[in-house]
Amino acid sequence: MGLLSSSSAVVRYRVEGSVPDPFIDTTRDSLKRDTIQEIDKDPCEKVCGWTSFQTPFAPQFDDSSFMVGEYLVFSFRVDTKKVPSKVVKKNYEIETARRLADTGREYLSKNEKKEIKERVKNVLLLRIPATPNQYDVVWHYEHAWLWFFSSSKSVSEEFESLFLQSFGLRLIRMFPFTLGDLSAGLSEDDRDRLQKITYTGLTSS
């Protein structure tokens, strides 16, 4: 579902503001600072960050390969680990039984149960590799537009949030109203008219 896929989904944005000069160096620093971190050896459930479009599993922004012609092309990667709840339950019950046997008690406190559950989950999270998902980004810096290759609302929201954090720039989603208001070349009077329109019915009198 990416830029070079045979079929894809594209959400469009307008980028508000500009990256301080020197543009390429500042952009590179931002991408490097928030590059995706591997969590395979970490009891972490989810991580997101920037990665290279061409080498998504070996991110590197040291050169200028993210500049393609007049576009910036890179990817947003989200790695997640999901431990099936039944696996957690099984291991939790084994561990609880062991603790009871070791201590000779009949019951465990609420805090002990919580601690066992967290420990079991962390151990399991260390055992499973993260599943990576890559979503491509094409940013026309001069024209201040950006395409994001995903139709998932939650992924888009995470992307918008990281983009703001990394570049200090807000993304405005281009849906019919914003497209009309910001990109249709309307005069100020026309933009006022657009803001005042209401649904009057199209198909019935």
């Binding site: 830029l3 989603r173 019919p176 026309d190 329109i197 198909t203």
Partner: protein
């Protein structure tokens, strides 16, 4: 500018009106749409239409699917005051063909297929492949943006109520 989520909700109908108008335009022109004096493109509905009753307390949608989706069903929905929420289209410019779905609410392009491009066999091919693909996406998006601009200018002018709405209503009831 107001909060995006408020704008999305307040002007939700706008994209639905655009897609309904666009469907009307494809039928009115027989799919041959003039973008400018020099440019004419072919734009026709594809294999999916989702209709929705916009101003109803109870959300009601109708989905019509199929390779040769019969738009008669969708037309009946129009008569029931529904508008187009999502629609698939096929665009042809010279020998190049695109297909895509357009969502009236988010304006997201889905199942977006561009004309075929060359395979990337060497690392050196990457940059050319990326630029070619971007160019192809952009060509299609620009067509939709041009048509959207045309729509929005009519929508905020008197032409909308004086000419477009009567023409669309006539199309709904008795065809072009």
């Amino acid at each position: 500018m107001l909060d995006i989520s408020i704008l999305l909700k307040r002007y939700r109908f706008l994209g639905f009106e655009f897609l309904t108008w666009l469907w009307f335009l494809t039928e009115k022109t027989g799919g041959s749409i003039e973008l400018s004096d020099q440019d004419t493109v072919s734009l026709v509905p594809g294999d999916k239409v989702v209709m929705e009753l916009v101003d109803s307390a109870k959300p009601e949608t109708v989905t019509i699917l199929g390779e040769d989706a019969d738009l008669k069903e969708a037309r009946i929905s129009l008569k029931k005051r529904m508008l187009v929420r999502e629609m698939n289209f096929r665009l042809k410019i010279n020998d190049n063909e695109w297909s895509f779905g357009l969502n009236g609410e988010s304006f997201t392009f889905s199942s977006f297929k561009t004309p075929k491009t060359g395979k990337v066999e060497k690392k050196d091919d990457f940059e050319g492949a990326i630029l070619e693909k971007i160019f192809l996406y952009e060509e299609c998006i620009n067509v939709i943006d041009t048509l959207f601009k045309r729509f929005i200018k009519q929508r905020i002018s008197d032409e909308w109520t004086m000419r477009q709405i009567p023409a669309i209503r006539k199309w709904i009831t008795s065809g072009i």
